[in-house]
Symmetry: C2
């Protein structure tokens, strides 16, 4: 038995926006799975901005896609044939197949998904890495409790929007920071934060001070930069700062010009007796089941809202990806590649 | 019954080194203790550099001594008369009497000392605040365990020298950082650290890298500045940074010139998943009894060494204080004001 897979491959490195010529559809005959492997049929494919970097020759922390190979991606799949222990035909799994409709992969690289918890596509978003990152940072490292005042930067982002909603679910007050009135409105109205402060306005500092009230118990840190310098002085004693990202500083190749803000950061941590904890969610995998149970419950009772932008057809993935890069999506961008048996 | 107390008072604000004219001996008649008060007889007086600041008119975080009043100090005393619950004649207590030989103070401002734990003078040093700060930072916030590699800045200081010795007692490796060959030698030979690196030498960075081996599990931070920037990149994943002080940055009145080192600090915390915890020991008072038991045992079996420089006579306190400011002491400077009944 052999299967012909459809794949979107990297034919050449794009200049600027990737074209259909850069990312053509090819067919490839797959071998039947060997011992330890599974054949999977892709149902949902995740499209994310980081994939643009993988299409380039530029050096990055992750290896780029080789010419002729499918573009990297996480996907939700159905097992079509299994030679791997613990996986059976019909199982729904999360895997890294790339932009394809079928793949043969190692069973140990699949994570089985329980379709009763939530719609299976959500395991690419709110039930997946962004959701788990928000949950671990706020609950394990932030130790959120009822009555806390929680500040979240990049509040309209995939992680930030969930942080505020978990804070609310835990009885805390959620204050977001985002750029521009549209994002702030979405954070307040769609995701139900108590307030969202626009860091692009001239009165950011005073608006943030008002929103801080008598101080923040938790600052869920995604950005670094000027936002960090403005938030730290507003922390309460014994506050917690789960440090998840520093978008403003990722592209630095050397220390920026002064003044040197290191002493101010250190003084705030010392005088307010803060706990700052850097984290990357996959270090906390022992909490993953607890996360899935929590988030499944919150999705079912409507406590946590999420937005997906699900579009049809692997062959259109390059066009959808261009739309994503242009900001044309409304919510998590997902490509439906094949029939969803759970619908 | 009335008592005449001898006091060293602030007659005028000193210019530079305090003179005997700035700090004369005066007598004062004390009233008998009222309800809730005790009359104490001072046995040992602590002399510390911070007292120079209290003699000045310059603004500081603590109020200065008023003209005509005794100089601030902690002391070990014997209760001579008590109208306070829980305190009896003959009890040994820690109190803030100032530079005096007798005082009437509130009973609630005394902390009773158990003379069986250690020589009572040590409650001004290794059994007192410096010891407790070291213990809390390393054990409660640093979570030290056997096999850890611990780095301590200001290692010859009152706190730092104890940190390294507790680390050794817990089965960890102790690496000190200090300024100059004499201090480094004392840290290694007297206090038994595994190594002490001199930050004043040109090869500080490479010496520290050698001493770090495969990385530090704990950095007990007392200094900030360049030492901090050199240590952070040498931390192991999931390392802990109890943040106790930042000597290098205390006198800053505004952010120093660049480059801005804040992004480097943040990147190290994030990429190494560090926990940085600011602390001030009196927030952790629930651990105080456990500390006293630990330290008493270590002093009795010789695990922890300490040095005291005990000198005689309240009337000579100004001369001893000048010696302290000139670095003429060898160990914790203590003035013996009256007979020690436990000797």
């Amino acid at each position: 038995m052999s299967i012909t897979a459809r794949q979107i491959v990297l034919a050449q490195h794009p200049h600027g926006m990737p074209t259909d010529e850069d990312l053509p559809l090819r067919e490839k005959t797959l071998d039947a799975p060997a011992q330890g492997e599974v054949l999977v049929r892709v149902i949902y494919l995740s499209l994310d901005p980081y994939m643009r970097g993988r299409m380039s020759q530029a050096k990055s922390y992750a290896a780029g896609v080789e010419i002729g190979q499918p573009i990297t991606a996480e996907s939700i799949c159905e097992v079509a044939d299994s030679k791997a222990d613990g996986l059976s035909k019909g199982d729904i799994v999360l895997a890294r197949t790339g932009w394809v409709d079928h793949a043969v992969i190692r069973g140990e690289d699949c994570r089985k998904i329980d379709p009763s918890l939530a719609p299976i596509s959500t395991h690419l978003g709110v039930m997946g890495m962004p959701g788990f990152t928000a949950w671990v940072g706020l609950i394990v490292h932030g130790k959120v409790k009822s009555g806390d005042r929680v500040c979240v930067s990049s509040a309209a982002g995939a992680v930030g929007q969930i942080v505020g909603q978990i804070a609310k679910a835990k009885g805390a007050t959620a204050i977001g920071i985002a750029g521009g009135p549209e994002k702030c409105q979405e954070v307040e109205e769609t995701f139900g934060f108590d307030a969202c402060v626009d860091y692009k306005t001239g009165d950011f500092k005073s608006s943030l001070e008002s929103a801080a009230g008598d101080g923040f118990d938790i600052y869920f840190e995604n950005v670094g930069g000027d936002v960090l310098f403005k938030v730290l002085p507003l922390m309460k004693e014994f506050g917690r700062v789960p440090l998840c990202g520093m978008i403003a500083w990722y592209n630095l190749t050397s220390a920026p010009e002064g003044p040197d803000m290191a002493p101010q950061i250190w003084r705030n941590i010392l005088s307010k007796k803060l706990t700052v904890r850097g984290f990357i969610n996959y270090d906390d995998i022992e909490h993953h089941d607890a996360f899935l149970q929590d988030m499944s419950g919150w999705l079912k009772d409507g406590t946590v809202k999420y937005r997906e932008d699900i579009r049809d057809g692997l062959e259109n993935a390059p066009a959808y990806f261009r739309d994503l890069l242009s900001g044309g999506n409304r919510g998590k961008m997902v490509v439906k590649v094949g029939e969803d048996p759970t619908e």
